[in-house]
Symmetry: C2
Subunit: 363 residues, 2 copies
């Protein structure tokens, strides 16, 4: 029996969009799904009980951050990340690759792995595909990600090709090392903005038979049109019976376009980061709550939203909280923004399942 | 009919402690009671729904802060502070006196009132007893406080006597100006650490027949023994059928001693401020959660506590949150610390009502 327990339960009649059920160790996830990001084992400014209450199905936590702090001795002591953070529902861990390349101070990248210095205390570490597997197995996430080489968005063809080749080598090592039956392992397709490299990477990675496939290295500076065209090329090359995950995308328009192109899973820091910057995501665009225009505004954040915050608090009150630098402002916008994206995903699922389809505007 | 709707329902057999019911416009409060402080119309780092969930009966908000921000035009637009902050339970507003003297930059204090500059933007304001009443009536709190002159804790006899005299003059003006039937008005006894001044102030203020009586100017630097001896002098001079409120006290030991001396109400920023500084209040004293000793500690904050946080999170996880400067750390400690004091008050009330009495250790 394959560890991949993904079932497509409905397909859109107008696009490649589909609804699925992904049976994970800590619960069944309805796709398409948005995963809030809990970098340090906490989704910033929201408590785990509230996450569950507003309908979060699965969160992402960052291997790089947890490896450095609290460190694997603590995680082992608690028997995994679920117990440590008291979130007993699905968790996906990234491989640490993206953070090693973006946050750590790089020393050396070889086929063996990456030597880097911690962004916290400058301590030296060596992360290899095997180590990335060991760490994620110890974290005990429901879904682990293969270790990949992440490069600058503006990299040239040769650099991109080399990184995709190394990602393939590392993927083979990950596949070999990973041995946890109750943890899925996803491979990552790279190849930047080069069609032929994307095709080659998709073919190589799928040949390794992972439990699911992520598309990495997109939405990192290229235009939306390029992102969409890469999806148009890559997704059809992935097995239809495996979940497809587009990493790091969280704007409503891009989620919609990616779902239409067959993507099942998304993660992004956007809703929580915007909340910390006093920005509310709404059906009419983002609101900048610090603006003076909201001083007397009795309306809820979004007239089309029925979240806890919109049912209980006014724009004027939230404006006031941010003017006073009160933490509750971030707390309320975090609840609302995550709910906003969850609601978008729910509407998408309903449109697909009911047969209304995705050509019509979702909300 | 008096607006004072306070009923003593049980008296301790060993001390002056009593249990009461205080019927306010937005609900009935069981005394002795602890009131968390919501300076800017938010109890820092906790959401209103959570306050209610953990059993908060009444909160305090600060007139000075709300008067400056969001300002009375906004409060008027919302029809009061309850609607503005979405807290539809009792609220006590202080008079603004304490903050004018401690936060504002003072320009001039006369019998008329206080001229000061805002600590936020330096704007000039003139706060008088009449203005303090107008502002609190507009805030629409359940309990308003008379405007008093607050002086340095180390003031000499003459300075203290003059401030107490002025507080009396101002109390008379407050009593005359206040005209809201659904808002109680409490007088404040001053007199520093001087017995005769405390006695004089208590006699003068009670002669004005307020709905309740606060004891101000204590726990501001003097020893606990001095605080207790002032309570021993003042409380017996206050009418037994009116609630007694000791301002600014929030440590468990002082609450206990004050309750034994007949105090019914308390407020303090302590539980929320400690939470922001990674300190947990527990039955075994305060825990400094940043300490390395908690890195692997699976225990809850307090083995004797059954709050949401103690049921769900470990010391190690909260330690980790503070090491990472994650807001959730403050959020969790805020819930726990407020619950801890509420639980203390509940135990006190039960001891009094059951006849066990307060000589035995509470909890």
């Amino acid at each position: 029996m394959s560890r991949s327990r993904f079932e497509v339960i409905a397909e859109d009649k107008y696009s490649r969009a589909r609804c699925g059920k992904l049976a994970l160790t800590h619960g069944v996830v309805q796709t398409p799904v948005f995963m809030p990001v809990g970098t340090n084992g906490t989704v910033k400014s929201i408590e785990q009980g509230k996450l569950k209450e507003i309908g979060v199905q699965i969160i992402l936590t960052n291997t790089y951050h947890l490896y450095l702090r609290p460190g694997m001795e603590v995680i082992k002591h608690f028997g995994g990340i679920h117990n440590f953070m008291n979130w007993h529902f699905p968790i996906l861990t990234d491989s640490g690759g993206f953070q090693v390349f973006s946050l750590g101070r790089l020393n050396k990248v070889t086929d063996e792995g990456v030597e880097f210095k911690s962004h916290i205390d400058g301590s030296r570490h060596f992360l290899t595909p095997d180590k990335a597997m060991e760490v994620q197995m110890m974290l005990g996430s429901d879904i682990a990600m293969a270790f990949d080489e992440c490069i600058d968005a503006n990299s040239d063809y040769i650099t991109t090709a080399n990184a995709a080749n190394r990602t393939y080598k590392w993927a083979k090592r990950c596949k070999k090392t990973h041995n946890l039956d109750d943890q899925m392992l996803f491979g990552i397709v790279q190849g930047g903005i080069y069609e032929d490299l994307r095709i080659k990477s998709a073919e190589e990675i799928t040949a390794l038979d992972f439990d699911g496939y992520a598309i990495g290295g997109l939405s990192v500076g290229e235009t939306k049109e390029v992102t969409y065209s890469m999806l148009d090329i890559v997704v059809p090359l992935l097995p239809k019976d495996k979940p497809v995950y587009l990493m790091g995308v969280g704007t409503p328009d891009m989620i919609m376009e990616a779902v239409k192109r067959g993507v099942d899973m998304f993660d992004c820091v956007l809703p929580t980061r915007l909340a910390r910057h006093a920005m509310a995501m709404t059906s009419e665009g983002n609101l900048r709550l610090r603006n003076a225009e909201f001083q007397f505004d009795k309306a809820s954040l979004d007239p089309n939203c029925d979240c806890y915050v919109c049912k209980n608090y006014s724009r004027a009150y939230i404006h006031h909280l941010f003017k006073c630098n009160e933490v509750l402002g971030m707390m309320l916008l975090t609840i609302h923004n995550i709910y906003f994206l969850l609601d978008l995903m729910k509407n998408i699922r309903e449109k697909i399942k009911s047969g209304v389809g995705l050509m019509s505007n979702v909300r």
